[in-house]
Symmetry: C2
Subunit: 430 residues, 2 copies
């Protein structure tokens, strides 16, 4: 039997414990596929005494995770600590600096420091791999960087946060308000006690910036992602969208027109026939469009112990097989710095929801605001009332630029008939 | 700039011309991703003078494809000739024997000779790659052999033939009979003049046997695939299935229970909520279930110039990058010879359609046949008439073994009230 690939594992939460269990349970199969055994030699975590449901007795325990990078019995470090900076980043730098390969599920760290780490990995001849960082068990990093490598990719988008998808799905299927579902999800452990990273779209933005870099051969530009989460989505919006043939999803969308990079996270109306609309519950889904392959669609579990461990160990098998390309599909020096696209000129259809005083003349005011900016209306519904007794007006526009629609909304907001901030959502028409 | 990877291309039909166009149009991008240029140096096809919409003037023309394998200016041979034996197989053997890598879209050849070729590739240290052979542009070979490599996979299934999916979709959406849609598809060039490989399920069986080998670490056993095509599917079946909440699809299904291998191609009833049901028209779709990752789902275009060329060139980029694992995810000697599963003991729900004389007592006879073999009925519909004026009876059973249902059908067929061969279809309940 050839020499094993020796792993140092930092972080023993759910995912870390999942990696331990997977490598034990599928050890023979993995050795057949990888050509050699993959063996954990040393582990590190905050609390040595917690029961993790996995036998850790045969591994060396290391108090300081950074020590893993310096051990002779560690070939590859797996980082499942999390956090964009701090111990995770220190460990990444030490590991790559030592010429060892580094596998991580840490999207926040990659969004902020991915290019620096990729450069360091290249310089040192080590692998930096992160299949688990985006869309959990779905091998979308591999699909973009290898499976679609022959294509010029112009668009990648998807549902990248299981918590948001779970909340929106439960709101729809059980007719519950956002706050109720969020509280229940927190109580059940599906959502963090500080849910902001998930529901405000930041986690999706981290992942989107990584996908965009891979898909377009671009330098990561997390700061340029426009981010809007799902806090403002009301059950009334979900109902109106359904009546119009759409389902509301938190969509991360990146486009490359050959010159600029567009990146946005936002709740969007997805037509019922679109495969993204059918990805319910905590599922993740990614679509990518290439010039030769057309649209590919991938769906699976985006988080949790099993799927994430599956992705981490796939990276380890690649390393054991000697597969070790540049982290972002091409050398860092070949990645292009793309200027952000001007969102104002984007054309599309829009869903608008306004809360207005229930009195004559209001609809005339609203429709005039659209007319004044050249926006025509595809459908208009006046239905239901807010809790304060105001009327809800929902409109879908014909295709218009974002600037036109925003100008119309600004005009509407100046009306004293409009009693709450208007909600605008994009319609996914591709 | 590093040395190019030099390609000899055999076969200049649609897909071959697509490869030529892709390598020209995306040359710069591919060189960035592959780390070096990928260049066609020599080509071969039957007719030198046909206009293929691509400029071939800079390539050396070779009359005998097998010569490509012997040329010093060819590193990798791409075979797009087709056919399980004959010139394609000769070329494959010559190429691998010469220690050169071989890329093919030829599922028939792989289903019949894949293990021999993989063994030869291993012995000679060459790559045998075939992403384009299954599901066209969907990188499912890579997903199974690399992306899901950490998992014990117990099931892989999907829609692997675009022609069948196109025909079934048009039958449903335009309410046309099978024969009408087939004739139109042939006239439009979507179906072959001899459509048997597609509509009788043989092409799907070729692909399924390859997926099963990859997913389960098993030796290819094409001969053990039970194959039933779509000729017997009537519009009445599609209608009844729709009324019951299902869509009929030609499904290739392989399962591994740890000991045996089940492989079947058959028209099956897919529930409307299942992602396979939503893959319409000529799309392909594949689902695979792993013990840690759960179910992954992939969808995209399964045939045609662009998607197939995308998959062929992805293989070339892998080779240019030095990624060259064993063809079936592990060395041939590690693949297990799995005995075929006994279908008779499989449990599931079944759709049954019977053509019967329209007279009293017939339903009692049919239901008695099910009762006699312990099969209970979930729903029973009597609707419509055949062209001969006989009545159509549709039933869905509760869960039963296949042996029980087949015995019931055999008993029914002995009744003189049953005027045509019963149709049985499986219901996809996973």
């Amino acid at each position: 039997m050839p020499e094993p690939l020796n792993i140092g594992l930092a972080g023993l939460g759910n995912v870390g414990a999942g990696v331990v269990k997977l490598l034990a349970r599928n050890a023979d199969l993995i050795a057949r596929r990888a050509g050699r055994p993959i063996t954990i030699t040393a582990v590190s975590a905050r609390d040595r005494n917690r029961d993790r449901g996995a036998d850790l007795s045969s591994y060396t325990w290391v108090d300081d995770a950074a020590e893993l990078s310096q051990r002779d019995d560690v070939d590859v470090v797996v980082e499942l600590v999390g956090g964009s900076d701090g111990p995770a980043l220190t460990l990444a730098r030490h590991t790559l600096q030592a010429g060892k390969s580094f596998v991580t599920a840490n999207k926040a760290m990659l969004a902020h420091h991915g290019l620096d780490l990729a450069q360091l990995a290249e310089t040192k001849g080590a692998a930096l791999k992160y299949e688990a960082a985006v869309a959990g068990g779905i091998p979308v990093i591999k699909a973009l960087s290898e499976g679609m490598a022959a294509n010029s990719i112009n668009r990648v988008y998807g549902l990248l946060n299981g918590t948001c998808n779970y909340i929106l799905t439960r709101m729809e299927t059980e007719r519950l308000d956002f706050a109720v579902v969020l509280a229940e999800a927190q109580a059940a452990g599906y959502a963090e006690s500080d849910p902001s990273f998930d529901i405000d779209g930041i986690d999706t933005a981290h992942k989107l910036s990584i996908l965009a870099a891979l898909a377009f051969g671009a330098r990561i530009d997390f700061a340029a992602v426009a981010v809007q989460g799902i806090r403002a989505v009301e059950l009334a919006d979900i109902d109106q969208a359904a009546a119009l043939g759409f389902r509301i999803k938190l969509v991360g969308l990146a486009e490359h027109d050959g010159a600029t990079l567009f990146q946005r996270v936002h709740p969007a109306l997805v037509p019922h026939g679109h495969p993204l609309a059918a990805a319910s519950g905590a599922l993740n889904a990614v679509a990518a469009e290439g010039d030769f392959v057309g649209r590919l669609f991938f769906q699976g579990r985006g988080a949790g112990e099993g799927p994430t461990a599956s992705a981490v160990v796939a990276d380890l098998i690649d390393i054991a097989r000697g597969i070790q390309g540049p982290a972002f599909g091409m050398p860092v020096a070949s990645l292009t710095a793309l200027p952000p696209a001007d969102a104002a000129t984007r054309r599309g259809r829009y869903y608008l929801r306004l809360t207005v005083a229930d009195r004559p003349g209001v609809l005339a005011e609203l429709t005039a605001a659209l007319r004044d900016h050249g926006v025509s209306i595809e459908s208009l519904l006046q239905r239901g009332h807010s809790s304060a007794g105001d009327a809800l007006v929902v409109m879908v526009t014909h295709t218009a630029t974002e600037a036109q629609v925003l100008a119309s909304l600004a005009q509407m907001e100046r009306s004293d008939a409009v009693t709450d901030a208007p909600v605008m959502m994009h319609i996914l028409d591709f």
